[in-house]
Symmetry: C2
Subunit: 369 residues, 2 copies
């Protein structure tokens, strides 16, 4: 335990250091630039457009080198904006040709959830390391296939858990591991937002796998898991659906509670039906700490019974990608590995199972998952 | 609906007005003093000593007129301190003689939970109105007996839900009823503290009926019920016990979630094992509001997405008792009636049943309880 705790803190400190040295926009081509790992963004929707591509202008250890899109208009816009040669522009038919593109070290999967497994597996078979957005896949079975494919190809796999690279979340993980305010006894966590366009893929079960829980509830689940450093032993949940038409296929709002091996209880919530739920708090023996807002791209806020420390704002996506590039360079697994994504899917499936069965779901054997 | 909403707001405003006109310490005997209703405190433990007796020095419509104690030393101390004539000092053997004591209009039961039913019923039969501390009793069956006894004796019964007379709680009830920030979608509520002396009655099931949930979790439950104005349709819960010796007989920590008819989900927690959990927050369509701390005797804090309004600090117990005195004078039931206490016990029993059965408990027929 002591060793793993030191390792954890070292890795957190390293991540903070990486983040804090992020420079401005990308410099002229240089030896350093050449050593950066190339990232191909697969799927050029809102997240790629507004977060990942801008983040890749700030990264120290990787750079945007290729794009994959099914929308022809985006090919030219993106190629122009980011000076990407036509040779490094792919669509879903030509995707597998990335195998022969040495400019690509990392493939970042930013597709609807149902496509995560297929494209992660194809990327690994093309010899690329993979970052896959959360949730890792629609099912834990798909997660296992993704892990196996990356292992077979000897490629690293990371899940886009950006919060694990946010300085305030990392400080909270430190509080938890160091028991700065004593041992944690209880955790509250919730994340939701009011979803707009009723026709979007997030509301279709075949594409999204589920609703609010899969999309944003997963952040609350993650927080409970990385604060305790444990997997839940038992989960019990219930849902509400006030708009049966809009949420015909996926969950609208859910609450669930989890019991962890150390005795910690967590109580959690998620929703697609209102804004303003965006927080977690850990209650410990001698105080409490948490964040509100907790899971935003910017301007998150750390709170604790000991007052607040000002920590640097830094691009979570840039740090996430730089950290993964470092893992590749050092040939060591990411903290946000496929196994980490799988554990969330196991818990998510238990939550849905509890809603369906109206009973507590035990997860005693999860440790060996 | 519109009428009952107006009535609710009128009653809240009246309660605030009563509270805001509370004077300093008790004035010299006067005509006004004579018209005050006499209160007998039954059980002179910490709550009576530190909260109720001091509050009775501030009340406008009632006054401390008698005491009931099983501890002979307390008889003299209290009689001296509050100038109570020996004729108005009782013990548990002489309790029923209060029937002949015209100085007593109201009996305030401040005994261990298991004694609430017996002494409430005896007080009603002695012709006295009753305020009974929360939780109302150990079981819903006892609650029903208490309600029946008070009805038979044509006496009013109120439960000591002091928070319902706290200006910030009342403002939150207004926010909820007026939909000031839109309709409520989700509520989080939790209350706990680290319990000391392992030998106290609160840790004995026969005396307390239960643990953290009965004692403090009930505040979180109350908050959810008075914010929604509804009774839960379904409840699911789980518990944790990290100190099996100290909590051999009663619950240590619990989490539970509730679904209400309007579709609101509430997720809640309680514990006897740590300090600092003392809050609720309602998430509505256009904002959120809540309190943290929420359930303390003093210095509670109202928070909302619209900023904060400074409201007067006022003695919750004094307002609670004055409001009950006004109900008696006006011959109308209290907002915190026995029926209100019964509804909490029904929910509490469902929570315990869910923990035992490891499944969701439906409460569809509760409305007719």
């Amino acid at each position: 335990m002591s060793t793993s705790r030191r390792e954890f803190i070292a890795s957190v400190s390293a991540a903070v250091a990486v983040g804090m040295t992020q420079g401005g926009f990308h410099s002229a081509a240089s030896a350093a630039e050449d050593k950066k790992l190339g990232v191909a963004l697969v799927g050029l929707g809102s997240l790629s457009n507004h977060q990942l591509a801008p983040a890749l202008q700030k990264t120290q250890h990787c750079r945007l080198s290729a794009i994959v899109t099914g929308t022809p208009e985006k090919e030219r816009t993106w190629a122009d904006r980011y000076q990407i040669d036509q040779r490094h522009v792919y669509n879903y038919d030509s995707f597998d040709k990335i195998a022969g593109d040495d400019s690509i070290d990392i493939v970042y999967i930013v597709l609807p959830n149902s496509m995560h497994a297929e494209y992660t597996i194809r990327a690994a078979r093309a010899g690329k390391h993979v970052i896959c957005e959360k949730p890792m896949a629609n099912t834990s079975e798909e997660c296992r296939q993704m892990i196996a494919a990356c292992q077979e190809a000897s490629r690293l796999l990371a899940i886009g858990y950006r919060c694990q690279f946010e300085p305030r979340h990392m400080r909270c993980m430190e509080f938890a591991r160091e028991k700065s305010m004593g041992a944690i006894k209880m955790i509250e966590a919730g994340f939701g937002f009011k979803i707009g366009d009723p026709n979007q893929w997030r509301l279709k079960k075949s594409l999204a796998g589920g609703g609010a829980l899969m999309d944003v509830g997963i952040y609350a689940l993650q927080a409970c898991r990385y604060l305790t450093g444990e997997e839940p032993l038992s989960i019990v949940a219930q849902e509400t659906k006030t708009d049966a038409q809009k949420f015909a296929e996926v969950d609208e709002s859910l609450t669930w509670t989890m019991r962890f091996p150390s005795g910690v209880l967590a109580y959690c919530s998620t929703s697609y039906n209102f804004n303003g739920l965006n927080r977690f708090r850990a209650f410990a023996d001698n105080g409490w700490f948490g964040m509100d807002p907790a899971y935003s791209y910017n301007d998150n806020r750390l709170e604790s019974s000991q007052g607040s420390t000002d920590l640097p704002q830094q691009d979570q996506f840039a740090t996430e990608m730089d950290q993964f590039a470092k893992c590749i360079q050092d040939n060591r697994p990411s903290r946000v590995s496929g196994e980490e994504g799988l554990k969330d899917l196991i818990a998510i499936e238990a939550i849905y199972r509890s809603v369906q069965s109206q009973s507590l779901v035990e997860l005693g054997s999860q440790k060996s998952a």
